[in-house]
């Protein structure tokens, strides 16, 4: 019941809209089935499954809007929800930034649904946990992991004739393996739309290998180092930067994209010329949502206003090419209302991670960054730490594990200090290459393993 077909969803949405007495009305209907299994100390701690089906109605009178939600779908409940949304709207203050709803839209064909994920059972999850725990037990290692799968649909419609429907699946798996003496720790994570691409066992093996190899780390002096950031480590800093591509903040003078003396840095070369970042909802490896701005994806922002997602280039050869807009701000500025993406792609090279290591005379390999927090929004300076597998590279080979570092670095500076990029892989819904960066700033040492 939680996953409705396009026809079933449209029928409900049309029925809701027929009850409307408001100037404008929009409806969104979504359902999902989400399951998870969590384990630690080589034993399953919790597992569960939740299904959800919810309808939200937004009524608008003039510039006043109100939203009401329900999870019952008989005619009386639907009508009651419409009336409640209308009552709430009438009592709401005017929103001076209200923009009338969009009419019918053309959406891209996107395949973000995989039957293999939709068919996941509690037994599948238990087996994945077993495949992850069992090899660790055999090697006297300790596993802690989490698997979450989700199957859902989302449908939107409004009184101006807009309608959209999408079905999507996802699976996220992460695993931390620690040595029995607590001196080594390794991590690996994978995310896909299609569960058949995930091997809990193979992912765990990477974490096991890192745990064993990271025991008895040596301390290096903090300072500036050439680093190789694995995609899992690079993605968080890059994602933070992409979340700061809001045009309004830039034009208001409170963004790293604001220009001295007013205006924005659109069109300026801010990064190394090899840096090109774009989003493409139809990319087969990270299929996005056909509509809804970033609201439906991992980037946040945007909201479900029904704008079609499209291919957008944000940075081309180091030059800032686009920023994203709310519909209000775009209208005020007389520009196209480009919405925030659900994922991004940093175009990389063809080299593997091993190739990047081979080509490094002296450097540090970073598996994962942790507890990343903004220090200065003006320069996008972030702090955080390395975690679960940090290694010293010398003459093209991993020499020995090193103690974890705290860093203070800006992704903008980092993408200017680019040495090389490898082949992109999926990380947190984005495509990110391993990055070789010079002069990455480590400011102190951490005893944490």
């Amino acid at each position: 019941m939680a996953i409705l077909t396009k026809e079933e969803a449209k029928k409900i949405i049309d029925k809701v809209l027929a009850y409307s007495k408001a100037d404008e009305m929009s409806v969104s209907l979504s359902g999902s089935r989400t399951g998870n299994i969590r384990y630690a100390r080589n034993s399953v701690s919790t597992s569960g499954e939740t299904t959800d089906l919810a309808l939200a109605v937004t009524a608008v009178f003039g510039k006043k809007s109100g939203t009401s939600t329900i999870n019952e779908f008989d005619d009386a409940s639907l009508e009651k929800t419409v009336r409640r949304a209308e009552e709430i709207a009438k009592l709401a203050p005017d929103n001076p930034e209200y923009v009338p709803m969009l009419g019918p839209q053309k959406y891209l064909d996107i395949n973000s649904y995989a039957e293999s994920t939709a068919k996941i059972t509690p037994e599948y999850r238990a087996q994945a946990a077993f495949d992850s725990i069992d090899p660790c037990v055999k090697k006297n290692l300790t596993a802690a992991g989490y698997l979450e799968d989700s199957t859902g649909f989302s449908a939107i419609g409004n009184s101006k004739g807009l309608f959209g429907y999408n079905k999507a699946t996802s699976i996220d798996f992460s695993i931390t393996v620690r040595t029995a003496d607590g001196k080594g720790s390794g991590y690996a994570t994978r995310d896909f739309n299609d569960a058949s691409k995930l091997s809990a066992k193979a992912t765990t093996e990477i974490a096991m290998q890192k745990a064993l190899a990271s025991s008895d780390a040596k301390a290096l002096e903090p300072g500036k180092y050439t680093v190789i950031l694995e995609p899992t480590a690079a993605v968080d800093l890059l994602q933070n930067m992409m979340r700061s591509f809001d045009a309004r903040s830039a034009e208001e003078g409170r963004s790293f994209l604001s220009k001295k003396g007013g205006g924005t840095r659109l069109g300026e070369k801010l990064f190394d010329e090899r840096v090109t970042i774009y989003s493409d909802p139809q990319n087969a490896e990270i299929p996005g949502s056909p509509f809804g701005g970033g609201g439906g994806g991992r980037m946040g922002g945007g909201g479900g206003d029904g704008r079609p997602q499209q291919k957008v280039t944000w940075i081309e050869k180091g030059v800032v090419k686009n920023m994203y807009y709310s519909r209000y701000w775009a209208e005020k500025k007389g520009v196209e209302a480009i919405s925030s993406p659900s994922g991004f792609i940093l175009a990389g090279g063809t080299e593997s991670l091993a190739d990047l290591i081979k080509g490094t005379e002296k450097g540090i390999l970073v598996t994962r960054l942790w507890y990343i927090r903004a220090v200065d929004p003006q320069t996008l300076l972030y702090t955080g730490l390395t975690r679960d597998g940090t290694f010293y590279i010398e003459n093209g080979k991993i020499k020995h594990p090193v103690k974890n570092f705290r860093f203070n670095e800006s992704p903008v500076i980092m993408l200017n200090n680019l040495e090389a990029m490898g082949k992109p892989m999926r990380a947190g819904g984005n495509l990110v290459p391993p990055l070789k960066i010079r002069d990455f700033t480590f400011t102190s040492l951490s005893d944490a393993v």
Partner: protein, 545 residues
């Protein structure tokens, strides 16, 4: 796509900020937040249906939480109301032990005995299924039943009774005050929460509780178009376990000094005016010279350092490895505690856990597994003496009873170990902030919380702040910028040389503290008086891009 993304797409998570999962209920009209929940007699009948069904299916223990969670958020910027969100979430969670293993099931909108029994039966079935993978059976610390009891937060004014218009008017006047005093932009928000929780267990407890929290917050931005620089200053409010009475201005709640800070009552308008002026002042403040400084930390700042470097590492589940894949483990291992001489801090450092503190975010009568709350020592005279534990953990540290640290952020979430209020005791010798500053030769006085980051075992941390003042030869000489301090937890707390007395004691706190997978949110307070730490490493965070 994650569940929260679907929720957001559905328009439930509308607004400028990402709201935590617990906030997601049905959107309702504001009046609904004042409508009474189920009568306590009905809740007892429903709870008994679940408890009896669980026992009939072979559970050796069961508890039921019937929860009604109400939220109201008012969000504004400059002269505009951006969003008003009213939500209500009602449902039931049943937790059982069967075959020595935990099982849990939750059901939305459960109002019949049949639904309750079904949830209990599901929970038992899950426990039995999970028991096949079990390594050690659950050992629950004994807990007496309390019969039919209740607890109500001692609030003076229920925030939901205050008309929305009054809150909108306050926030817009706050915004206007900031703008007319030099701010270019201002965002303000009022978060209000009411948890109506009914707990019943096979130990014979039927506990009805009514918990209130409020958090007024703003952020002002000042811009210098010429230089292209911008600076922000956040409110010096604290989230509190109070009603709307927190916003009643009372001169005795103000702490005067280089800038006004607030205790049990918050003057939002006055703070916004200061914030606008200080954000502008920050634009031209001197950039700090990196090096060692004595730090004088105001309670509006120190709460977060306590939270990260004491609260989290002493969570027993982290210490044991249950959070290894996400939040991490802890440096404060059992052997350090067993040694009875692990010097967590200097002799001045006394850190207490307290689930009863009036006005705090963590105060309740009973926790989410029916344990009556209490106060206990974590660090006494600098030595690590205890952790934070739940019923199934107490035996691991040789205790006969739980600390009462069980919490779930929703009826639909499984309760687990969450941080109680953890606070630094005030100094016993009379000492004012002015007297403390007088003795400092080269120092920085920090007010308000800023950037924060700590490693997964809670050794190495870095904190920023809102306001930084340079102290030279016992005097405040001016404002500083680009300040962050880095230290190691044990080294830092051992550098603590002085704590002001109880006249300066105030609470800070976190309204949305995340933990677990899937993540749950909880609210917790941390009290302290202004405290001095000697010779801490300060870095300069200015960069050019």
């Amino acid at each position: 796509m994650k569940r929260r993304d679907f929720i957001q797409l559905a328009g439930l998570g509308t607004g400028a900020m990402m709201l935590p999962a617990f906030a997601m209920g049905k959107n309702v009209a504001p009046e609904a937040l004042l409508a009474p929940g189920l009568d306590v007699a009905v809740k007892k009948r429903l709870a008994d249906a679940a408890l009896n069904a669980a026992k009939a299916k072979g559970a050796t223990y069961a508890d039921v939480r019937i929860g009604r969670y109400l939220n109201q958020f008012v969000v504004t910027r400059e002269n505009k109301v951006q969003n008003i969100v009213n939500t209500e979430s009602y449902g039931v969670g049943v937790r059982v032990i069967a075959n020595g293993c935990w099982g849990f099931a939750a059901v939305v909108d459960a109002k019949s005995e049949a639904q309750m029994a079904k949830a209990a039966e599901d929970a038992v079935a899950i426990a039995k299924a999970n028991s096949k993978l079990m390594k050690e059976p659950v050992q629950l610390a004994p807990q007496k039943g309390f019969g039919e009891v209740s607890w109500k937060a001692p609030i003076k004014k229920n925030a939901f009774e205050v008309p929305i218009q009054e809150k909108v008017d306050l926030l817009l006047s706050v915004n206007n005050a900031a703008l007319t005093n030099g701010a270019n932009y201002v965002n303000s928000v009022m978060f209000q929460v009411n948890e109506q929780k009914y707990f019943a267990s096979t130990d014979g407890s039927y506990i009805d509780q009514d918990i209130h929290r409020i958090y007024p917050q703003f952020n002002v931005t000042a811009i210098d178009a010429q230089t292209g620089k911008f600076q922000t200053r956040n409110a010096l409010s604290a989230p509190v376990g109070m009603g709307y009475d927190y916003l009643q201005v009372n001169p005795s709640d103000k702490v005067t000094g280089i800038t006004t800070r607030y205790n049990k009552g918050y003057d939002m308008l006055e703070d916004a005016i200061s914030a606008a002026k200080q954000a502008k002042q920050k634009l031209t403040a001197k950039s700090v010279e990196a090096g060692k400084y004595d730090l004088i930390l105001d309670p509006s700042h120190l709460w977060l350092t306590i939270h990260e470097s004491v609260g989290h590492p002493l969570e027993l589940d982290r210490v044991l490895g249950y959070e290894a894949n996400f939040a991490g483990t802890s440096f404060a291992t059992l052997d350090k505690w067993q040694s009875k001489n692990f010097q967590y801090g200097s002799k001045e450092v006394n850190l207490v856990a307290d689930k009863q503190q009036i006005g705090s975010l963590g105060a309740v009568g009973w926790d989410d597994e029916g344990v009556n709350t209490k106060k206990w020592d974590l660090v006494r005279d600098g030595v690590l003496v205890n952790y934070q534990a739940t019923r199934d953990q107490a035996h691991i540290i040789g205790e006969k009873e739980s600390h009462g640290c069980s919490y779930a952020d929703s009826w639909s979430s499984v309760q687990f170990q969450r941080m109680p209020n953890v606070s630094l005791e005030a100094g016993k010798k009379p000492l004012s902030v002015d007297e403390m500053i007088k003795d400092v030769k080269k120092g920085i006085y920090i007010i308000g919380d800023g950037s924060f980051s700590i490693d997964q075992q809670r050794y190495n941390f870095q904190f920023g702040g809102q306001l930084f003042y340079e102290v030279k030869d016992g005097k405040i000489v001016g404002m500083l910028n680009d300040v962050a301090y880095q230290s190691n937890t044990q080294e830092f707390w051992n550098s603590c040389s002085q704590v002001c007395d109880e006249r300066d004691y105030r609470l800070g706190g976190s309204f949305f503290d995340g933990k677990g997978q899937p993540s749950q949110s909880s609210a917790v307070s941390h009290g302290s008086s202004t405290t001095r730490f000697n010779g801490v490493n300060v870095i300069n965070t200015a960069r050019k891009i």
